[in-house]
């Protein structure tokens, strides 16, 4: 019989011990779990938006929200109240059902991801065998929501914005999935909890830094953060796919965007930064949750500073960056990593299941994989340097040509 150690994961057995029916106790456990997992992100997003506004303000030499509550902490609650009390407009000619369903589906796609995230060694919504595949599948539903919003609005700008967003999201899914496969390969499991356990000895960012880089960049684009925030390119598209939305429906889209960015960083932490692993995490499960959140904020806050710092890329630059740089690199990365892992296994220096949490047992394989990654980075840099030089020579030749042509006959252009 289980004992009441962890209040959430052994909720049912605690209830049964105090005299509740087992079936009812199990149902209540699931209910409490679902409510906890689904409402935590909704509460979190309020703090996220506050943090984002504060950091963006500091970068731009402002104070940020500071009126409502201490340090402006309750500003977003006031904003949410304002959004709720706003008039709820459905534009004329809009497809009513799809228009109203789109923000809900967008939010759903992000919250569903939280179901498989391991919060601590014992607390996970469902430890699916194919957690990684589930994450990708659910994430692709978000694209659909944007498509629905753009089409149902009966607005040219909304439709154009939706087209651009869909092109961006579908494109960047390719390198993201390729990078995701590397942790799956190293842990030889698609379950996020198994991947967490496999990182007890050595974090995957040490073993596979190139995959981590690709995943981070692809995630920036996937969540529409700067420099890939073409989703809400105000100056080009008015507002993008959500131009016709007002009130709380717009609020849902905005909350989805912030939550998606945080969830992506949470996934990065789970896959590459050792998930909940840290001192005493296996003894005190709650500490695992604290480590997970701390690490996530460590990667999340640089993305906020990045957002406030860099300019937006052009759409053709964004596409070229994906298809000509990230996708080839991710394929090369996958092939190299798979080969090296296999070589390590054949040579017998790969850690087995028993010694996976031992740092020393992981060391030989980690050194080999790290060397492979360094070699890949060097080759990539060399290729980029050559391509840049070729491009520059071509430009200089072109400039020289136009100079020679331009001097004797300036009017030749028209």
């Amino acid at each position: 019989m289980e004992t009441c150690i962890n209040i959430i994961s052994t909720f049912a057995s605690c209830m049964v011990q105090s005299g509740t029916q087992p079936g009812l106790a199990l149902f209540l456990q699931f209910l409490v779990g679902v409510i906890l997992v689904a409402s935590f992100p909704l509460v979190l997003v309020i703090i996220l938006i506050w943090g984002e506004r504060k950091i963006a303000a500091r970068v731009q030499d402002r104070l940020g929200p500071n009126r409502v509550g201490p340090w402006g902490l309750f500003q977003n609650i006031a904003d949410a109240l304002k959004l709720i009390t706003k008039e709820d407009i459905t534009p004329a000619g809009a497809d009513r059902v799809i228009f109203n369903a789109a923000p809900i589906i967008a939010m759903l796609a992000v919250i569903l991801m939280w179901a498989v995230i391991p919060f601590s060694p014992v607390n996970v919504g469902v430890d699916l065998d194919l957690g990684v595949l589930y994450i990708i599948a659910v994430g692709s539903v978000g694209t659909l929501a944007i498509m629905m919003a753009g089409w149902a609005s009966n607005n040219k700008y909304a439709l154009l914005g939706a087209f651009r967003v869909t092109a961006q999201l579908v494109s960047y899914e390719v390198p993201m999935v390729m990078a995701l496969l590397v942790p799956v390969l190293l842990a030889s499991s698609m379950s996020l909890q198994q991947i967490s356990y496999a990182q007890l000895g050595m974090w995957f960012i040490v073993v596979a830094p190139v995959a981590a880089f690709i995943f981070y960049v692809a995630n920036l684009a996937e969540t529409g953060r700067a420099p890939f925030d073409l989703i809400e390119a105000e100056s080009e598209l008015v507002a993008g796919y959500n131009i016709e939305y007002s009130g709380m429906k717009f609020g849902l889209f905005m909350a989805t965007e912030f939550l998606h960015a945080f969830t992506a960083n949470l996934l990065f932490t789970v896959l590459f930064l050792g998930s909940w692993s840290g001192p005493w995490a296996t003894e005190v499960p709650f500490l695992g949750f604290v480590w997970l959140m701390l690490k996530t904020f460590v990667v999340y806050i640089p993305s906020l500073v990045l957002r406030a710092t860099v300019p937006r890329v052009r759409i053709d630059q964004m596409m070229a960056f994906n298809w000509k740089f990230l996708v080839p690199l991710s394929i090369l990365n996958l092939v190299v990593m798979a080969t090296l892992v296999k070589v390590c296994q054949v040579a017998g220096i790969a850690p087995d299941a028993a010694s996976a949490s031992d740092f020393a047992a992981n060391l030989p394989q980690a050194i080999i994989l790290l060397l492979g990654n360094v070699a890949m980075v060097l080759v990539t840099l060399q290729v980029l340097r050559n391509a840049g030089r070729r491009e520059r020579l071509k430009m200089e030749a072109l400039m020289a040509d136009t100079d020679r042509d331009a001097l004797p006959a300036p009017a030749a252009h028209s």
Partner: protein, 174 residues
Amino acid sequence: MLEINLPLIVFAIFAVLAIGGALGVVGSRNLIHGALYLIVSLFGGAGLFVMLSAPFLAAVQVLVYIGAIAILIIFAVMLTRGMAQTKEVVNRQWWLSAILALVLLAVIGIAVVMPVWGPNGSNVVNLQVAETTAGVAELGIALVDGNQYVLPFEIASLLLTAAMIGAIVVARDD
């Protein structure tokens, strides 16, 4: 004859989603609505896969059909402007098609409910179901095992590559 239990109710929900969505696909005048109904139907199918303890296929269904094919169809409908609204939904032989589909459904339905096939004509319908099934790991091994499905697997990847190149060549605007 049938006792109402929780799996049956869940099955009924997914079956209604699948069939209702399918009816929406054939019935809707607007092609975008049709595509969204298709998604509903496929989602019901994914639920059925989960009930059949094939979660891998359910995830692939959501990923491939909803995440890729449905979005592709919506994209195509939007790119071909004016295609979304046609006056007549069905052609002149629609009643013939309806009769054919109903006859087919009746024949399959009778054959399914009153089974006549199976090893030695035994009653396949009431057979006992194994509690444990092979999982995702076995599927992965089966797909790359030299004695099982590695050749179909490679041919499938070749087919996908060929289809991708073919689609780009055919749809290219030149």
